[in-house]
Symmetry: C2
Subunit: 324 residues, 2 copies
């Protein structure tokens, strides 16, 4: 047995705004052990890392100790692959307004190589390592969650750009006039329309502007979620279906522009919204075919992530560990 | 001397709709010999290649024979790097509606490796080999000519995508409502506004809509060119300046979206319009800063190609030869 074979596992950390979920994963994408802690409640990053390592020790022992672990991968908001830092993440108390060398902190504590990237890039690598993108060299991962994220793979490598932050496709401008305000401080971004919160916003707009009956009218408009829209649509509610058509139409328009950029062999959708299946995928495909430059027509597949939603983020993060 | 050192030259072919210009180029980008033939007037591609090779023999002898030539690079409309084919080029009689294996035809005749790509990608490689992009790993070349072309470089490599046709940034949609019709059959493309013909179109629109005096009113509106606008603007004509501001503003908006994609260290502009200098570059930079996602602000340089316009296309094509 060589050293490589003696280290059959990588650790994945899905660092979310609420929870930090760990998994120890083998090369086939099987999660051998898992644990989690709360992400918040720490003023200093060192305290957060201490708590993480304490929880990790338990599951590391379960798989045979740290000598069985090749590396660790972290998927985190504003994670920079080049530096291993989390930069100015607005939602993390211990990283707010500062630069946190998280990869180095974990590497120093665990004695293994640690790499870090943002969650959408981690999802792309996860899909390439364990999911529907196995064998693909050029694809675009689009994560439809609270926001819209993206991971762009070119020639088998994640596109990081000059600074590590390339692939912010949620913030391309889709409506240059009277565009919706976006959390980034600008107007008209894809994310303002096609994230889960964007869909809820579309629902409120449709309900206000129109008079037709809808199951959604039974709900408090301020509390409507994209899941409510999905449930109503699956019951045949016409207005709810139109909300998904509107959303999918814009995603198809956006993907048509993305094709002019990197001509991917596939667009892969991930996240809560992607679970709506044909409800969202059919309008995306229809709109893409209508809008894409003829030379690219029919070349890209439209796929939904094959990774289990609950573990996909951890798998994605862990996959970064194999690439070190 | 090893074999590599015995072959100090590459051939570049800039294959345009009117002329086919050849240059034999050394590693520093010096053109040692040059010649040209008309591109049209051949029904069959074999006849075109025969005429090319006949003209080439003369300059190949001038530099010491074919044994001094490492390879040949071709920059051509609809050129596909992966296949070496020209695919369905609408402006070439001998390639119209068909697929022409041009790289193979030249390679068979000359006995050297031949690579082919489209003109904008060739310009990007030329800039990376001989021009302002030397040492850069991530940049976007934007060619402002009759159309708007682009060559995207990621990790030091041209982005070709799954099919060889990635990087058609002239055809991202900038105006989704009431967008100008584009030669590609769709509406609102960047090219419909920011190409030389787009600028002439803007001039006609401005002259029609407005009443203020302008040097451009002395010209036949149907015959106005982007050069006329540039000359008027350089004389201080307010309306002409506004046309460039409008054009630059849109290019800046577009580049802001491109940054969200590949976060380049530079945008490099090439072509007749780029020669307008500050007249076009200042509004591009101003608009970019206004529109780009804060995380990318101040990271990208805005540069004009440093290659001599007359020889840049040949140099770009030749540079592809070094990459084989």
């Amino acid at each position: 047995m060589n050293t490589q074979q003696q280290k059959p596992y990588v650790i994945g950390l899905d660092l979310g705004g609420t929870n930090s979920v760990f998994g120890i994963v083998d090369q086939r994408g099987e999660i051998k052990a898992t644990t989690a802690i709360k992400t918040q409640g720490y003023d200093k990053v060192e305290d957060y890392v201490d708590a993480c390592v304490e929880a990790l020790q338990v599951i590391i022992e379960q798989v045979g100790g740290i000598d069985t672990v090749k590396a660790m991968g972290i998927g985190a908001p504003n994670g920079n692959y080049y530096t291993g830092n989390i930069e100015m993440a607005p939602n993390l108390a211990w990283a707010h307004g500062t630069v946190v060398p998280l990869a180095k902190l974990f590497s120093d504590r665990l004695g293994i190589p640690v790499a870090l990237t943002n969650d959408a890039n981690a999802a792309a690598v996860g899909e390439m390592t364990y999911g529907v993108a196995r064998g693909m060299k050029n694809f675009i991962m689009i994560t439809l969650g609270t926001g819209v994220g993206s991971g762009i793979v070119v020639n088998g490598q994640v596109l990081y750009g000059c600074d590590g932050f390339a692939g912010e496709l949620g913030h391309v401008i889709m409506r240059r006039e009277n565009g919706r305000s976006c959390g980034c401080g600008r107007n008209g971004c894809l994310e303002a329309y096609c994230s889960a919160t964007g869909v809820a916003r579309t629902a409120r707009e449709f309900l206000e502007k129109r008079q037709d009956a809808s199951l959604l009218r039974e709900l408090d408009p301020e509390k409507i979620t994209s899941l409510d829209v999905s449930i109503a649509a699956s019951k045949g509610d016409a207005l709810a279906k139109e909300i998904y058509e509107f959303t999918g139409h814009m995603l198809g328009e956006a993907c048509a522009d993305f094709a002019a950029f990197s001509s991917p062999e596939a667009f892969i959708f991930f996240g809560g919204m992607a679970k709506a299946g044909d409800l969202i995928m059919d309008p995306i495909k229809k709109s893409y075919d209508e809008h894409v430059l003829p030379i690219f027509r029919g070349k890209a597949q439209f796929l939904v992530s094959s990774l289990d939603g609950a573990s996909a983020a951890v798998l994605g993060a862990s996959a970064i560990g194999w690439e070190i």
